[in-house]
């Protein structure tokens, strides 16, 4: 971390009224100061654009946003999901429609709640930043045995300019044994599109529970979005994380999943489309701690214009995690002469008797496919868009909430500069 940035963060922390006297925040701040924020020299951070942070004010945005946010500004709700909206990280009851789901408790975290797992790895430093500054968030507790497959939708709205204050979305999501839950988490911008958002999500899935977690990052064209998600799975737990990265000028997501219980299963399905001068970077680490656990990881990224889209998928198989079964399919598509795509699978194995498959490709559109479509009369632009669409489709198709999938497909079609010709597909 540059010395300037460190000083700025420390000053902003000292000036933040809520920070004084709060031991947990002070500890987080201290830990962050000791470790320092990452720089582009760090192996796992080399693709991200950290420079915009220098212009950010780290103190949480306070007060009403300049343009008031109304329900019409928000994404269309998804049927049967109870919506909770947060503006600049703070719960907005007027824009929320929480109907009670039996066995599910959703609370605002005005007072900083302790994290289930202390932050121990150096890649989670932005979570420390969140812990030091966040003023509110969503705490979701699901009782054991609850069946709530269409459950909670969280909408995080960034409304304040990054120069004026930051947005710290925070989610603590704990699912009891044997429960089945669906969670939608959206990140959008309204008003200023140049916000700084630093999001921290902590998930724990108890034994035999099953979670489907959908995340859509669709913040403004000049937004800076940092994100840390940690998840810990107990015995026989299942966790599916579907992520669509669409917005922001610079977005970085750090995901750390620990398969701590035997036969636990994680599915990470990530789609990222960047254009113009966007930077999308994801670092996803899955740690196999217990035996006979499974990982399925798929990434599809398209980089156009002068964008950079990066995905680093790392799997560590710890000693004792025999019977591990992991599959990685990471594919990047270059859709512009000045675009960059970085796709990187990594495996570290410290035990025998494991099965780890990985495939990674990065390339341009397939000339044979393109010629086939042209020879059938499709014009070049339509053919190219269709192929880009097809490239993403196998991962997008895994989204099991039809309305959400349609919304994401429409946004992707928009990202691919394709509104009209692909309409029929949707």
């Amino acid at each position: 971390m540059s010395a300037v940035l460190a000083t700025r963060i420390a000053e902003d922390f000292a000036a933040a009224a809520h920070a004084s006297g709060d031991l947990q925040r002070q500890r987080a701040m201290q830990a962050l100061t000791e470790r320092g924020l990452p720089t582009s020299r760090d192996e796992n951070w080399k693709y991200v654009n950290l420079r915009p942070l220098e212009k950010v004010r780290f103190t949480p945005a306070t007060g009403e946003p300049q343009a008031p946010v109304t329900a019409q500004d928000l994404p269309a709700p998804v049927a049967h999901y109870c919506r909770y909206t947060f503006i600049d990280g703070v719960f907005a009851p007027a824009l929320s429609a929480p109907t009670p789901n039996a066995g599910v408790l959703v609370k605002s975290m005005k007072a900083a709640a302790a994290r289930a797992n202390p932050i121990s790895t150096p890649d989670l430093r932005f979570a420390l930043l969140n812990e030091a500054f966040a003023t509110d968030g969503a705490q979701i507790l699901v009782e054991p045995g609850t069946d709530c497959q269409t459950c909670v939708e969280l909408v995080f709205v960034a409304a304040t300019e990054g120069k004026a204050g930051a947005s710290y979305p925070r989610v603590s999501f704990h699912v009891g044994a044997g429960a089945q839950v669906g969670l939608i988490e959206r990140h959008v911008s309204i008003g200023s599109d140049a916000s700084f958002i630093n999001c921290a999500v902590d998930v724990s899935v108890a034994r035999d529970a099953s979670v489907k977690h959908y995340r859509v990052q669709q913040t403004g064209a000049r937004a800076i979005w940092f994100d840390t998600l940690t998840a810990r799975l107990a015995e026989n737990a299942r966790y599916q994380l579907h992520s669509a990265s669409l917005g922001a000028l610079s977005a970085r997501s750090t995901v750390h999943v620990q398969l701590a219980g035997e036969r636990s299963e994680v599915g990470l399905f990530n789609v990222s489309v960047g254009g113009k001068n966007q930077v999308h970077d994801t670092f996803a680490l899955v740690e196999h701690i217990a035996a006979n656990a499974r990982t399925e990881q798929s990434f599809r990224g398209i980089s156009a214009g002068r964008a950079r889209v990066a995905f680093n998928g790392k799997i560590i198989v710890r000693k004792g995690a025999h019977g591990t079964d992991s599959r990685q399919s990471l594919r990047g598509l270059l859709a512009g002469a000045d675009a960059e795509i970085d796709v990187r699978p990594q495996l570290e194995i410290y035990t025998d008797d494991v099965r780890c498959n990985h495939g990674a490709t990065a390339g341009k559109l397939d000339d044979n496919m393109l010629f086939y479509l042209l020879s059938r009369g499709l014009d070049r632009e339509t053919a190219q868009r269709l192929l880009k669409w097809a490239f993403l489709e196998d991962v997008v198709a895994k989204i099991e909430v039809p309305e959400l999938r349609r919304q994401i497909e429409q946004s992707l079609a928009g990202q691919l500069n394709e509104a009209a010709a692909l309409k029929e597909l949707l």
Binding site: M369, F371, L373, S375, T382, W389, F391, D394
Partner: protein
């Protein structure tokens, strides 16, 4: 309809077509036969406008227009159809969407409104029945996981939906069992009409038992070595291609023999690249 004059085509440093002359009148079916590496597939691809083939001399006139000046999609709009020897799999793009997009692209070119969704499905279903294809095919990805035979049927289905004026079918019979061959042949015969022409590129005369050509041409080392009626195909089947190559006695052909070495190289290259073979 189609007039090819003195066509020379190179792929990289290899001269594949060496002064090919061929005329296909409207309403006729012509078969083009020839040994491996003789340039049959190259001819088919050049007619469809595939990149990577350099026309170094000669001309191709289609309906009085310079075909080589048109982009691949423009050729399709004008009614030229290539049935691929190796149809490409495109996961994520479903068959029905491709058919509709292709048909609408053609209609747009001719100033017609988009096809009515209901009429379109009826049309496709009717043609699918003819090709003995299952309804489930519509929602599958283009050629995705299709068997060799299914891919070839799909090519003919696309042809029947698009109703081209000039269909160039590149070894559509290869890899088909006898039942599938009959289905494919039936599809081709359905297209036959006084307004449409078909070029059948094939190794074997088997297909020609079911789609009876008006003319048969034998392509050897990049040019037509012999032309005749359908009995030529039968003769070839009996005597093999050596009969044609050995029978060449004109001085021009001595010159061609000198290129044997480079032709052999082409063969090797084509085997490595199914798309060009």
């Amino acid at each position: 309809m189609l007039k090819i004059e003195n066509l020379h085509v190179a792929v990289g440093d290899n001269k594949v077509l060496n002064g090919l002359d061929l005329e296909i009148p409207t309403g006729e079916v012509h078969a083009i036969m020839g040994p491996n590496g003789s340039g049959k597939s190259t001819l088919a691809h050049v007619l469809a406008g595939r990149p990577g083939y350099e026309v170094t001399a000669g001309s191709v006139t289609y309906d009085g227009r310079d075909l080589l000046a048109l982009e691949p999609e423009e050729r399709a709009h004008e009614g030229v159809f290539l049935g691929f020897q190796y149809p490409v799999e495109i996961p994520g793009v479903n068959n029905v969407y491709l058919l509709k997009a292709a048909l609408n692209a053609q209609r747009k070119h001719h100033g017609l409104p988009e096809v009515d969704a209901f009429e379109f499905l009826n049309l496709v279903r009717e043609k699918m029945k003819l090709m003995k294809m299952d309804e489930s095919f519509l929602s599958r990805g283009v050629n995705e996981g299709f068997s060799g035979g299914e891919k070839k049927r799909n090519e003919i289905l696309q042809m029947l939906v698009l109703e081209p004026r000039l269909a160039v079918l590149d070894e559509t019979d290869s890899g088909l069992d006898i039942d599938a061959l009959k289905v494919v042949a039936n599809g081709v015969n359905t297209l036959r009409s006084p307004e449409k022409s078909v070029v059948l590129v094939t190794h074997y005369q088997r297909l020609l038992d079911y789609v009876v050509p008006d003319h048969v041409h034998v392509l050897v080392r990049g040019k037509i070595a012999r032309s005749g009626d359908r009995t030529l195909a039968l003769e070839l089947e009996k005597r093999g291609y050596d009969w044609v190559t050995e029978d060449e006695t004109t001085p021009r052909n001595y010159a061609l023999h000198d290129k044997t070495a480079s032709t052999a190289n082409q063969d090797a290259q084509f085997r490595g690249d199914p798309g060009a073979a």
